[in-house]
Structure formats: C-alpha cells, structure tokens
C-alpha cells in the first residue's frame, strides 16, 4: 500500500504539468475570458442576440422568473467546467500514450527496474493516476473555478441590485460540484478501454506511440468504411465505430460518458448526474472495462519482458 502511494506520488511529480498546471492555466484563461465578457462585452452580446449574459439573467429576475434565471446562471458557471473536462481528456490521452514509452526512451526504466517494485504495481499506478488522480484534481479545480466564476457574476448582479442569495437558491451549483466528484469512479470505468489502449500502445510501440494510438483506429475506421462501399458486404461500420473505435479514442473525454448514458431530463442536477450510474447496468460499460483491463494486463506483460531499452 505504501509503495503504491509513493508510486502515485512519483507519477504526480513527473506529470504535475499536465495533472495540475494544465487545468489551472486553462481555468485561469477561462476566468479571464469571463471577466472580459461580463465586464466589457456583457451588453454587446445581448444586442447581437447570440449567447447568454448577465443582462439576460437580470431581465429574467426582474420578471420574477427565478428558475430560468437560476438555470441560466448555472449554465454560465458550467461552461468553463466543460472546457476543463475536455482539457482533462487530452491530458489523460497524452499521459497514457507517453507513460510507458517515455521511460523506455530516456532509459529511466533501468533505474525504476533496479528497485524491488513489480511491473504490475508500476503500470497499475500509472493507470490509477490517469483515471482517478487526474480526474479528482481536475474536479477540485472545477470546484474552485465554479466558486470564483460565481463571484465574478455576483459583482455585476449585486451592483444591479439583484437579490444574489435568492438567485443562488434557485441554482444547484453546490450539488453540481459534488456530483462532478461523484462521477469520477464511473468515469474511471468508462475511460478504461481508451486508457488501456493508449497505455498498450505506449508499452508496445518502438517509436511515435501517438501514431499507433490515434491514427490506427482512425485508419481502421476509414478502411472499414471504404471496404463497405466497394464490396457487397454488410459490415456494421456504424456499430463498430460507435462501440469500438469511439470507445478506444473518445472515452477519455468525460463528456462522452454523459452523451453515451443519455442522461435523463429533470430539474435536479444531482439526480441527473447520478442517473449516469444507471450505466453500471449496461453490458457496454463492462465489456469496455474488461477490454481495457485485458489491454492493461498486456501492457504489464510487455513492460516486464521487452528489453530494448
């Protein structure tokens, strides 16, 4: 247990840039943009019709339409978080593609292998870093981002004389943020085939794991499609793309989970977020996770046996 904790710490030391600074910097930029939108361009947007802004919220509040105002306010705060989760997807993808390949390339694998730590523990620590540690860090940064951006909106709303407390009461920001954290375990299961595939490519490829990890599934999809066009076969290309190629590439992006689970409509975000857990009953999730586990096992075996460092 202690060794595993230090292995996770080791991954964090090495990838602080991706795990911590990438979401913080992206979040900072989003906050700046928000400040600009709210402070400088707020009314501009309204005049051109597109998008939402502070004035819309104020208008709705003035009409006594508190629920709509709350929803709009929620959306303003949710937007940056969606971006941050896209950043997480890229971070996890590049981490997975690099993690086993890079230690071979810089030969540091010879140092790590000089310690009495098994390959399975090492690879599993990398997996947990990708699907648990990185998402949790991003979620906490989302919470901070949510609080700061709520404050950014609070100032002009408050200056406009609105009852900010009452507006907050008509939102579900706190439960939304908690829900985000609650989704991490489901995300870990959902992302397993993609992360497993990336780590397998990382363990296997002699050079450019990115090409293997990303180009091969895309080319496979293209070839299947062309094959289908030319010959009178009935290959279920759509099904394959959706259930294999899409899972292997896109499952690292948390939003793909929300799309796949087709989250239910409703007013209570906690219920909406937790409704994603209905996925636990789907074969699709578990087959993907099993495939991911098999690929991780292969990556462990590869790390143990190959000696071309």
């Amino acid at each position: 247990m202690k060794t595993f904790y230090w292995l996770l710490k080791r991954e964090y030391w090495e990838h602080r840039g991706g795990f911590l600074w990438a979401p913080i910097i992206a979040g900072g930029i989003l906050l700046l943009l928000q400040l600009l939108l709210v402070g400088v361009m707020g009314s501009l947007f309204a005049r051109h019709g597109g998008g939402y802004n502070v004035n819309d919220i104020v208008e709705k509040m003035a009409k006594g339409n508190w629920d709509d105002a709350g929803n709009l306010f929620e959306l303003c705060i949710l937007m940056p978080m969606i971006v941050l989760n896209a950043v997480l997807g890229f971070v996890v993808m590049f981490y997975g593609l690099g993690t086993i390949y890079n230690e071979r390339r810089d030969r540091s694998i010879l140092f790590w292998k000089s310690l009495p730590i098994s390959d399975s523990r090492t690879v599993l620590s990398k997996l947990v870093s990708a699907v648990v540690v990185a998402p949790i860090i991003t979620s906490f940064i989302c919470v901070g981002l949510g609080i700061v951006s709520a404050l950014i909106y609070a100032i002009p709303l408050g200056l406009g004389g609105a009852d900010f407390g009452k507006l907050l009461a008509h939102t579900h920001i706190v439960s939304m943020l908690l829900g985000l954290l609650a989704l991490v375990p489901l995300y870990a299961l959902w992302a397993l085939p993609a992360v497993g595939w990336f780590m397998l490519c990382s363990a296997w490829s002699r050079s450019v794991p990115f090409l293997w990890g990303v180009a091969v599934p895309l080319i496979a999809a293209l070839v299947l499609w062309m094959f289908n066009q030319m010959a009178p076969f009935d290959i279920p290309v759509g099904w394959i793309c959706q259930n294999i190629i899409f899972r292997v590439l896109v499952s690292v992006f948390p939003v793909s989970l929300l799309i796949a689970s087709g989250h239910s409509q409703g007013s209570d975000p906690v219920a909406i977020i937790l409704s994603n857990y209905a996925m636990l009953g789907s074969l699709k999730l578990w087959l993907g996770a099993a495939a991911g586990a098999a690929m991780i096992a292969t990556a462990i075996w590869l790390r143990r046996t190959r000696d071309d460092a």
Partner: protein, 285 residues
Amino acid sequence: MNAVVSASGLSKRYKFSAALDGVSLNIPAGRIVGLIGPNGAGKTTALKAILGLTDFDGNLSVLGFDPRTQRNALMEQVCFIADVAVLPRWLRVSEAVDFVANTHPRFNRAKCEAFLARTKLQPKMRVKQMSKGMIVQLHLALVMAIDARLLVLDEPTLGLDILYRKQFYQNLLEDYFDENKTIIVTTHQVEEIEHILTDLIFIRDGRIILNADMDSLAERFSEVMVNADRAALARSLHPLDERQIFGKSIFLFDGADRATLESLGEVRRPSISDLFVATMKGTYA
C-alpha cells in the same frame, strides 16, 4: 559457501548473432569481478540476464533466485547502475531520496544523506540541471545506502572526467565494499579498475575466454622485455603477443616457465589492458 551468481549453459540469441553462447560461471561472495570484453561481446546481455531484464536459455541462479521468475524478491538484494544517464531528467534529489526510502526495504536514509552531504548536490536540484558526474554521485549515493548483497555496474563511469572516475571507485571501496558484498563491473577503462578487482573475466563473442582471480593471473601470465638479438629465441616459446618499444621486443607469455623467461630479459606482470589486447586480437577483423 553459496555462490552469488552461478550459471551454466547460459545462452541468448538475437536475430543476427549469439550474445551469449553457453556461458558457465560461478561468482562467490566477497569478490569484485571485472567483466571485460570488446563491444558487442555479450557483457551487457550477461548483466541483463543476471538482473532479470532479459530472457535466456540455460540455468542461472542469482543469490538463490531465478531472475526470470523471482525478480521482485531478487531486486531487494541486488542493486545496479546501468550506465550514467538513467535517472529521469525531471527527478529532484529530494524526490529520489524520498522515493527510494519509501519503496526499498533495505535503504538507509541517514547513510544516503551523509553521502550526499559530501557532494555539491542540493535537495531541490533536478537531474537535468546536473553534470554527468553529479548524476552518478546521486545514483551512487542512493545505491550505497542500500544494503544489497550484489551490486552490478555496467559502464558506470562512461563519459566522466578522471576526478569523478577515481572518486567513484574510491567511494565504492572505502564506504561500500565488504566481505558480504559482491560487485560485478563492466568497463572499457580497464586500467582504472585493475587494482581493485579480485577476479577477471574476459568475454568474447558470447563466450568466456578467461576466468581467473588476480593472483593466479599473475602466476600464469608474464611479460618479458627482450633485446633484439634474443627475440628469435623468445618467439620460439610461442608467445601470445609481441610488440616493439625502443628497439626492444615485449613478449607476452601464457604459462611459460619462469626461469626460462628470466634468462631472456626483464620479467614483469602484464597489465590487464595488454593482456586484453593480446587475447582479443582479431575480434573486429
């Protein structure tokens, strides 16, 4: 006495060549063994096999473990420095010490910190900010603080200046080595380890062509400096090698009679590098 390393019929084939070809050897505890051979002779493959980093045919037992299947248990007792630059560039000194301290059961943190205090390394320093010599100092400090029974060094001083090289071996001898430990080292800088070795193994084309302790080596091999007028006589005794210096010939003999040699000229103990060059003649031809 249990052998630290015992191998028989150790073989490993790569696509185009045999890296190890039926190697058999026994290394007892408390020895410092030099594994010397030309490039591509199979030194590194032999070390990799001992460390469980590669697959092989034949029998090999290291400290009683099979490196193929019991690698994790083995690595608690074995340390290795494989080349100068294997510490990852992002690692800080403090992180390296923390990590090894918390993952290696036989690591002595105080010892490591004492070693580090004798260097210019700072806890916040990253490997990428260090010179090659400093990286090796860090690696050596980590390794010497581990109470291991076998230390494997593969070209540990490659690319270091002479100050670091001398210091490296001096530290090993003074602060690390004792009768319970065994060191296996490969290097091309043979002259520098000559006086610290207890045993010498020459390897060529995957085969061991010489395996002797230093004392018996001195008895077996001798070098004689012969004047030109007696050179023909010396040649008739089948020397291993002959070279010319200042109009005199130097002959290298394997197992020749001492008294006969002394009648030819001045007899002395050959250096390992001369012995090496003589034995490896024609390797690259």
